[in-house]
C-alpha cells in the first residue's frame, strides 16, 4: 500500500487530485466496511455497499459478491447493479468462471475477453455479449479461509492495474473480517450458519421483489429499488423489509 501511494504522489497535479479523491473514497469505504458492530447488520446491504464502492474506487463497470453456499456452489449475494441481465451473468459464472477459480485457488484472477474464451468457454461469450472486456475475481479471505469472491467487470480493454488489485484485495479482506465474526473463523459451526444466513437473506429479497413486481405492476429491477428506498426511509434493514413483504406484514401499497 505504501508503495502505491508514493507512485501516485509523484504523478502530475491532475493525477494527484484524482488520487486524493480516490484515497478519500477508500478511507470512507474502509470505515464503512469495518462498521459492522450494529446488531442488526444486514449482509446483503453490506455487500451491496462493497460492490458499489468497488465500482467507484477501482474503475470497474460492474461488481458483485458471491459466497460459498455450503453445498458446493458459489451464490450471488449482492451486486452494484441489480438488473436481471447482470444478475444472470454473475450466476452463470458461478459454475465455471473467474469467481470459482479465485475461490478454489485463493488467488486473484484477471483475464481479457480473449483469454477468458479459452479458460471459461461457457461464461466468456456471455460476458463479451454483455459488453465486458476484462473480468477479474478477488477471493474473499482471511488467513486461509476463503468464503467467496468479489467479481469485477470492465467494459474497456484496460486491465486492472497492480495497485487496483492491491486495493481490491484490501477491501475484500476487510469485508471478509467484517462479514465473518472473528470467532467464526475458528468454528466451522458459526461460519456455516453465517454463510447460510447471507444466502437465505438474498432468497427472501428475491421473493419480495417478485411479490412487489406483481402487486405494483413494476419490473423486478424496479421492485429492488422500491425495497431499498422503503428500507432507507423507514430506517429498517433490507432483509427485514423483504421479510415483511413476504409475510404480508408490509402492504404493497406502502411502496407507492
Amino acid at each position: 500500500m505504501a508503495e502505491v501511494s508514493s507512485t501516485e504522489a509523484s504523478g502530475t497535479e491532475a493525477c494527484g487530485t484524482e488520487s486524493e479523491s480516490r484515497e478519500a473514497l477508500l478511507v470512507h469505504s474502509f470505515v464503512r466496511l469495518a462498521d459492522t458492530l450494529a446488531d442488526d447488520f444486514d449482509v446483503v446491504e453490506f455487500l451491496h455497499g462493497l460492490s458499489v464502492d468497488s465500482v467507484r474506487i477501482l474503475g470497474a463497470h460492474t461488481a458483485g459478491v458471491m459466497l460459498a453456499d455450503q453445498r458446493g456452489s458459489l451464490r450471488l449475494i449482492a451486486s452494484s447493479e441489480e438488473r436481471t441481465q447482470t444478475l444472470d451473468l454473475f450466476e452463470i459464472q458461478g459454475d465455471k468462471g473467474p469467481c470459482a477459480d479465485a475461490f478454489g485457488s485463493g488467488r486473484t484472477v484477471q483475464a481479457s475477453a480473449d483469454e477468458g474464451r479459452i479458460r471459461w468457454p461457457e461464461f466468456a461469450p456471455v460476458a463479451s455479449q454483455a459488453g465486458f472486456r476484462v473480468v477479474c475475481a478477488v477471493p474473499l479471505q482471511v488467513h486461509r479461509h476463503v468464503i467467496g469472491a468479489l467479481n469485477l467487470f470492465r467494459g474497456t480493454d484496460e486491465r486492472f492495474s497492480d495497485s487496483d488489485l492491491e486495493i481490491a484485495q484490501a477491501m475484500a479482506q476487510i469485508a471478509t473480517i467484517a462479514l465473518i465474526q472473528e470467532r467464526a473463523l475458528r468454528q466451522q459451526t458459526l461460519l456455516a450458519e453465517q454463510l447460510e444466513r447471507a444466502l437465505r437473506s438474498r432468497i427472501v429479497i428475491e421473493q419480495a421483489k417478485g411479490m412487489l413486481a406483481e402487486y405494483l405492476k413494476v419490473s423486478v429491477d424496479d421492485a429492488f429499488q422500491l425495497l431499498r428506498v422503503y428500507a432507507r426511509s423507514h430506517n429498517r434493514k433490507l432483509t427485514a423489509v423483504a421479510t415483511g413483504v413476504v409475510d404480508r406484514e408490509i402492504r404493497s401499497s406502502e411502496f407507492c
Partner: protein, 245 residues
Amino acid sequence: MLDGGRSALHRRARIVAAIVGSGATAGIGALLNRLCRLAVDEMTLSGCTVVLMSQTVQMGTFGSVEGGAGPRAATLAELQFALGEGPCIQACASSMPVLVPDLAVEAAGRWPMFAPAAVEAGIRAEFSLPLSVGPRGIGTFDLCRDEPGMLTGEQLADAFTAADIACDAVLSLPETFGNADLARLLDGTGADRLVVHQATGMIAAQLDENVSNALARLRAAGFETGRSIYDIARDVVARRVRFDG
C-alpha cells in the same frame, strides 16, 4: 468440496439416486425414511428425523414426525416440543440452520431446559437444518449424535443438500408417485437461480398464497410440462406465463 455449481448438482443427483426405491411407486413417508437412513449411514449419526411443524410455530404443538431412524431421534424432537425450546424449534422459526456440536455446553446457554435433558437422554450433538423456501420454515432436517463433534465439510454439504431435497419432497411431491419419476421430480437443475425466487414471489402474489405453496406450484408446473423450473420462472418474470389464469 467447493468447485462450482456442478459439484452441487452432482451431490444432489447422487443423494436422489440413493433414495430411489426398488418398487414401482413410492410415498412421501417412505422416501423421507430412506433419506434419513442414508444420512445416518453416511454421516456416523445416531439419529435423523424430518420434523414438520405448523407455519406459525406454537411452542408445544407438533405437526408430525416422519422417518425417524433410531428411536432417540424422535425422542429428541418430542423433548423440544414438550419443553418449548431447542435447536429444531429455533431453526424452523428463524429459517436458519442451528448447528450444535456439543449440547453439554448449551446447558448454560441457549436452551437451559432442553440441553441437559438431551444430554441425559444420551445425545450430545444436534444439527437442525430448516426446511424452508422463505422467511418461515415448514420443518427441519434434524441430525443427532451420541458423541460431541462437528460434521465435516463434506457431511455438512450432504446434510444441507439432503435438507433441500426433503423440503422439495414435502412441498411438491404428490401423495403417491412413480419411483421412475423421482429423479425428475426432485431434479435441482437451475432451481437455485435468483429468477426462481423472483417467480415464486410473483406466483405467491397471483394466487394470494404463501411462498412455500407458490414454489410448490412452480415445481408442479415443471413436472407437468417437462420444462425446467428455471425456464418457467423466466417466463413468469417476463410476464409470458401466469398462474392465476
